[in-house]
Symmetry: C2
Subunit: 348 residues, 2 copies
């Protein structure tokens, strides 16, 4: 099969138009490709909350653009009012908080007359950084894989979740191009099915051999087929290197450990939250149970059913083989190595 270069056919899922942000409605994928237009920070907050866009790095990028939209009238008070609105949109992905902190700094560091211009430039820079981080992580990550690896991934840590080629999927794509990835098994990732709807779509577009599995098939696959790596993204990494990611990740990490399979986390440094000491201190978003008891509006449980909908879980760092950041590889994953890699000055 022809292997497309890393940057061919990029998915244009977030497009800055100066006075508005166009975002691909990921809820409708893979069958419908439709864009939503955000003209205000409130629009961006709503799109984030409603999961029109998702993925920790992309949530950060969108929030940066949301702040730029709030600055359009060159009034600092508009920006200050928009910030908490955006911050409350999702609780777990720390990239959102990082992006808002950075944009607030920019807002406050110059005159109001240039506010709009400065904020637009800062949002663009934040986006370009994430794009560059993706490429760097893909290269660093692919180097960890052995030739002909069969890989399991979870949720969507792909192009759709970032500005560039993705975190986990970026590493997989770079690995495929280098002949290191032979086959990918995306877990469908209930309840929101990001693996089935988004990751598989990206892999098929990239021409990477992929076979969908339900989340509960991973253990059987690890036992009966050759699985060489589990590769996932992250929504927040604590100072002790515990990894918060989409619900189901923690279980996958235990299964990988049981079968002696390396477990890799790929995330930019903007996903690391040194102010959170321990993974168990990370707030776990609980979303509507409607997303569990119904699938695309079809009821799958009895009327009046109770359900849990934990959006995320936390994988203790002891289960993580390595964390791949744009600044370097944290391995073994622990607080000392994490801090060491983050404070390294990189000259790419």
């Amino acid at each position: 099969m022809k292997r497309k270069p890393l940057h061919e056919d990029p998915i244009k899922h977030i497009v800055w138009k100066g006075d508005r942000l166009q975002v691909l409605d990921q809820r409708l994928l893979p069958r419908t490709v439709k864009f939503a237009t955000c003209r205000t920070a409130a629009d961006v907050a709503k799109a984030t909350r409603d999961m029109v866009l998702r993925g920790a790095p992309l949530i950060g990028c969108a929030a940066a653009y949301g702040m730029a939209l709030a600055a359009r009238r060159n009034r600092l008070k508009d920006v200050l009012a928009a910030e908490p609105l955006l911050r409350r949109a999702r609780p777990t992905a720390v990239n959102l908080m990082h992006a808002l902190d950075r944009m607030l700094d920019v807002a406050k560091s110059g005159p109001e007359a240039t506010l709009s211009k400065r904020m637009a430039a800062a949002a663009e820079a934040y986006y370009r950084d994430d794009l560059a981080f993706n490429a760097r992580m893909a290269t660093l990550g692919a180097a960890l894989l052995k030739k002909g690896s069969n890989v399991i991934t979870h949720c969507n840590a792909g192009a759709l979740a970032t500005a560039g080629i993705g975190t986990a999927v970026g590493m997989i794509r770079a690995g495929w191009i280098a002949g290191k990835v032979a086959h990918v098994y995306p877990c469908e990732t209930r309840p929101y099915l990001q693996g089935a709807r988004l990751t598989l779509w990206e892999l098929m577009k990239a021409g990477i051999p992929a076979t969908l599995i339900t989340d509960n098939m991973a253990a059987h696959l690890m036992k009966t087929r050759k699985i060489d790596a589990v590769i996932v993204g992250s929504d927040r990494i604590a100072a002790n290197a515990d990894v918060c990611n989409k619900i189901g990740t923690y279980g996958l990490a235990i299964l990988a450990k049981h079968h002696g399979i390396p477990f890799y986390v790929v995330a930019p440094s903007t996903t690391v939250d040194l102010s959170t000491k321990h993974g168990d201190d990370i707030p776990i978003e609980e979303r509507s149970i409607q997303e569990v008891v119904e699938i695309f509006g079809a009821p799958i449980a009895p009327k009046g059913a109770k359900a849990h909908h934990f959006g995320f879980d936390v994988t203790p760092h002891a289960l993580v083989t390595a964390i791949v950041t744009e600044k370097g590889v944290v391995s073994p994953a622990n607080s000392v190595n994490l801090r060491k890699v983050l404070t390294t000055h990189v000259h790419p």
Copy 2:
């Protein structure tokens, strides 16, 4: 909450009418209660194959009735012709093979003139046995639980899967009545969603507090809530006490081990297959991938997506705390203890 006695409101999901078998169409549950009528062994085979009825013990009961239907004209050759048809309906549940072996023995052990009568009586006896086994396992199993247990279960090993109150769910129900079960978390059990559609329905009917989770939430729940037991059924138990059950069971067993939580399997002796030495020798049914890439007809994956649909997996006996049969509790689960319990003559 009022605790209903064990045998109140039994679910009448398989009804023998002498010249036909009525079976509840479990594919339509929980929203629609509709019966299908089987007038021939071929009808029973089709209903089994198409999962109108499912659950290893119930598949055995239905096959016994199917053989009785084939005997209606008192011709042994009809019975001999029906047997392979029924045997091929599903490959994994060994109760099917046991029921057919027993019915073949009955068919051959008397004159053709009494064939229909003998076969109907044997099918009824097989059904009554399963019902009695359920009650016995529920009592034996509940005794293993500590007071106020929170329990995770998988798939549907309930009344709908058996003639009686179920295997895993029977133990849970007896435990609830005895104050030993406080709360139940059924895993939804993709792709067929038996946990969401069937087990939760049974638990709600019985008034047992239950909260639905997606399969990938089990690990998070084990880490963050008090979970005291995982209780599942089985489709086939090998001579070495390895347990074949619905896909996802093996993963749950690993997660339970990791968290130090007891893992119980509840299954009648008709589920044990001493002719299969090792769990890995059990044929694992691969069903249509349509059931993975679509949910109730709604596509969840891109067009042309590849997928796996393993129906079952095998849990090595080392991960099993105890196997509860109607003849006694096998603990620790291994070949010696299994054979010992099976050959015990029980006087209930």
